[in-house]
C-alpha cells in the first residue's frame, strides 16, 4: 500500500513541523513579554523592590534559569518538553503539572458535560429539521438556534447567572468552596456546562442539519422510501451510516476547539478551570505555567485536526489518492 504510506508520511511530517513551529512561537512570545516574573513574586509590583535585593534577584533568576541567553533557555525548554517536564511554577512554587492537572480536569469535565448536553439537544433536532426541511417547524428551530448562536457566550452566561442565581437563587453565585470529591465538582460544573451547551449547540445543529440534508438528497434515500420502509428505519439504517463519519470528524474538531471557546463561560462563573489559570499566570508572568497552557491549547487543536484527517482518510477513499 504505497499510497497510504506516502500519505501518512507526508501528513506526519506536516504535523511534526507544526508542533515545532508552535513550540517555538509560544516560547518566543511568552519570554519576550515586557516585564518579569520577579516583579510579582513577593506580592504586587510596587512592593517588591523593597523586598528583593540585588543578589537575591540574581539568585532567583539563575534558579529559574532566566539569566541565560534566550537561545539557551529555548534549548532547556525543548529538552524539558521532550522529557515531559513542564517546569516549575514561579508563582505557585510547585511543579507545573501539579497545578495544571486539577484545573485542566475541571475544564475537561465542564466541556465534556457541556458537549454531551449539546449533542443530546442538537442531534435529534437537526435530524428532525433535516427530515422536514423547509417546513414551519424546521424554519422555527433553525431561526431560534441561529439566534441563540448569535448571542455571545459570555452574555448567555451572564443571563444564566441573572436568571438562576439572582432571581431564583438556585445556583451559587460566587465560585467554589473547597471541593474535594467528584460530585461537588459536577454540581458546580452543571451551570456553566449548561450554558456552554446552549452556546455551542447552535453551531453543531447547523452543520449537522446541513450534512443530513445533503445526505437525504441522495438517490438511495429515495429508493429506500419507495421500498416502503418506515421513516425510522430509513433514518437509523441508511441516513446515519452515510453521514455519520464526516459528522464525527467535525464533532471531534469542535470538541478540540471547545477548550478555547469555554473561556468566556468559565470567566463569568469564576470557575477554577484552565481560563483562570491562564489569566493568573499571564498576570504574574509565570512563564512555565503560561507556556504549558498555550502549548496545550495549540496541541489540542493540532491533534484534533490530525484525528479529523485520519477519520476522513479511513472513511473516504478519495482523500487517499491526493496530496494534501
Amino acid at each position: 500500500m504505497g499510497v497510504s504510506r506516502r500519505f501518512f508520511v507526508s501528513k506526519a511530517a506536516f504535523y511534526i513541523s507544526l508542533f515545532i513551529l508552535s513550540i517555538t512561537t509560544v516560547f518566543l512570545l511568552v519570554r519576550m513579554m515586557p516585564g518579569s516574573p520577579l516583579d510579582y513574586l513577593g506580592g504586587e509590583a510596587e512592593d517588591v523592590p523593597y523586598i528583593l535585593t540585588e543578589e537575591v534577584r540574581e539568585k532567583l533568576l539563575s534558579y529559574y534559569g532566566l539569566d541565560k541567553p534566550l537561545w539557551e533557555q529555548y534549548i532547556v525548554f525543548v529538552n524539558n518538553l521532550l522529557h515531559l517536564n513542564f517546569g516549575y511554577s514561579i508563582y505557585f512554587s510547585e511543579p507545573v503539572t501539579r497545578i495544571l492537572l486539577p484545573h485542566l480536569m475541571r475544564t475537561l469535565i465542564l466541556i465534556t458535560l457541556g458537549f454531551l448536553f449539546s449533542i443530546s439537544i442538537s442531534f435529534p433536532l437537526s435530524i428532525i429539521s433535516a427530515w422536514r426541511r423547509g417546513s414551519t417547524l424546521d424554519t422555527i428551530i433553525t431561526l431560534l438556534s441561529m439566534s441563540i448562536y448569535s448571542i455571545p457566550s459570555f452574555a448567555l452566561a451572564i443571563l444564566f447567572l441573572i436568571v438562576f442565581s439572582v432571581e431564583l437563587k438556585l445556583f451559587p453565585l460566587i465560585g467554589f468552596s473547597a471541593e474535594e470529591n467528584i460530585l461537588d465538582i459536577l454540581w458546580y460544573a452543571l451551570g456553566p456546562a449548561m450554558v456552554f451547551a446552549v452556546a455551542e449547540s447552535g453551531r453543531a445543529y447547523y452543520f449537522m442539519r446541513n450534512s443530513f440534508i445533503s445526505e437525504l438528497d441522495k438517490d438511495y434515500i429515495l429508493f429506500a422510501k419507495s421500498k416502503g420502509l418506515k421513516n425510522k428505519t430509513i433514518i437509523l439504517r441508511h441516513l446515519l451510516r452515510g453521514s455519520l463519519s464526516p459528522i464525527i470528524s467535525k464533532l471531534a474538531l469542535l470538541f478540540g476547539y471547545s477548550l478555547l471557546s469555554c473561556m468566556f463561560v468559565e470567566n463569568v462563573f469564576n470557575y477554577p478551570g484552565i481560563t483562570w489559570l491562564l489569566l493568573i499566570s499571564y498576570e504574574y508572568y509565570d512563564y512555565p505555567v503560561l507556556e504549558s497552557i498555550l502549548l496545550i491549547f495549540m496541541f489540542t487543536v493540532i491533534v484534533m485536526n490530525a484525528i479529523a484527517d485520519i477519520i476522513s482518510f479511513i472513511i473516504d477513499p478519495r482523500v487517499r489518492g491526493g496530496w494534501m
Partner: protein
C-alpha cells in the same frame, strides 16, 4: 519522415512525440498516452485523428497546440518551437485555435456569447473601437450561421448546436492558421452534427486553415477529407488518404472500426508490453506480433500501416 505534399513545408510538425503521464504525484504509475508519433500538417490541409477513447488523440492534439509538454520529441509551428508551453510567445497563440470537446464548457458561463466570441480579439488587442468590434462579431456570427439575436444570451440559455457555432466563431476571430477540433460533434444530436461538420469543412476550404480533426467515430472523421490517421494506445497504426483508408483498410484495428471484421478479445495483456498494441484483440495475429512492435511502413502511395502482415 512522411509528407503530405513534398513541395510545401509543413505548418505544424510533430517529431517523435512521446507523452508519459504519471497518475498521482506520489507513486506515479506511468501511462503512455502518446508514443513515437510523427505528424506533418501543411497549410490548408487537414488531418483527422480517430481511435477509441484513451488512444491518445486529445493528448496529441494538445501537444501539437503547445498546451501540454511532451516527455520527449519536438513540436514546431512554422519553425517556432512549441515544445515548452511556458515559452510560447503570445503572437504564435494568435495563429492557433482550439475547439474543446464540451461546447458548454468552452465559454465562461457568466459572460454573454458576444463577449466570449470577442475575447480573443480583446486579448490580442486587434480591434480599436467598439463599433469595429461589433461589425466583426456580427460578421463572424453570420459566417457560422449563428442567429445574431442570440449574441446577448449566456451559454446556458442557448442550445448545444448554437454554442458550438459560437465557439467556432470565436476560434475564427483571430484568423488562425491552425485549428484543433476535439470531438466537436460528440455532444450534439445527429442533424446538428451534420450542420456543424459541413460548416467546419466550408471554413477549412474557404479560409485555408490547417485543421486537426479528432473524433472517435471513424465515419465522422473521414467526412473531412484529406488524410486520416488511426490511433491506438498512443501509437499511429495506420495513416492514409481518406478514400484509400475507407475503401482499403489494411490494419486489422481499422477494419474493426469500420465494422468489416469481427473483433475478439483474446487474452489479458499488460498495458505497456512489448508487442503490437492490438495484440489482445487482433483476430489475425501472428507470432512476431507479441514480441516486437511493428513500425509504420509506407506500403505504397502514402499509405502507412504498422502491422507485421505487410
Amino acid at each position: 519522415m512522411m509528407r503530405f505534399n513534398s513541395l510545401k513545408t509543413p505548418l505544424v510538425q510533430g517529431i517523435n512525440l512521446t507523452k508519459i503521464f504519471r497518475y498521482g504525484l506520489i507513486w506515479g504509475e506511468p501511462v503512455e498516452a502518446v508514443k513515437n508519433v510523427n505528424i506533418n500538417l501543411l497549410r490548408g490541409a487537414s488531418l483527422s485523428l480517430t481511435g477509441e477513447s484513451g488512444s491518445g488523440k486529445t493528448t496529441l492534439g494538445k501537444i501539437l497546440l503547445g498546451i501540454i509538454r511532451p516527455t520527449s520529441g519536438k513540436v514546431l509551428f512554422n519553425g517556432i518551437d512549441l515544445t515548452n508551453p511556458k515559452r510560447v510567445p503570445k503572437y504564435i497563440r494568435r495563429m492557433m485555435s482550439y475547439i474543446p470537446q464540451h461546447p458548454e464548457e468552452a465559454f465562461d458561463p457568466r459572460w454573454r456569447l458576444y463577449d466570449n466570441i470577442a475575447e480573443p480579439l480583446r486579448i490580442h488587442k486587434l480591434i480599436g473601437s467598439k463599433e469595429e468590434e461589433k461589425e466583426i462579431i456580427f460578421k463572424l456570427a453570420e459566417d457560422v450561421s449563428l442567429d445574431t439575436s442570440l449574441l446577448n444570451r449566456r451559454p446556458f440559455e442557448v442550445s448545444g448546436g448554437e454554442i458550438q457555432r459560437a465557439v467556432i466563431a470565436s476560434a475564427l476571430a483571430t484568423n488562425p492558421l491552425f485549428m484543433v477540433c476535439d470531438e466537436p460533434t460528440s455532444m450534439l444530436d445527429i442533424s446538428t452534427q451534420a450542420d456543424i461538420l459541413r460548416l467546419l469543412k466550408n471554413i477549412r476550404d474557404k479560409l485555408n486553415i490547417s485543421l486537426l480533426f479528432i473524433s472517435h467515430d471513424i465515419e465522422i472523421a473521414s467526412f473531412m477529407g484529406f488524410k486520416i490517421a488511426v490511433m491506438l494506445k498512443g501509437r499511429i497504426v495506420e495513416m492514409a488518404d481518406v478514400d484509400k483508408l475507407i475503401n482499403e483498410p489494411l490494419h486489422p484495428y481499422t477494419q474493426g472500426l469500420l465494422g468489416i471484421v469481427k473483433v475478439e478479445y483474446v487474452s489479458s495483456y499488460a498495458k505497456n508490453c512489448r508487442g503490437c498494441p492490438y495484440y489482445d484483440r487482433c483476430p489475425v495475429k501472428m507470432l512476431p506480433c507479441r514480441e516486437k512492435e511493428p513500425k509504420l511502413k509506407n506500403v505504397g502511395g502514402d499509405h502507412y500501416v504498422a502491422c507485421f502482415r505487410y
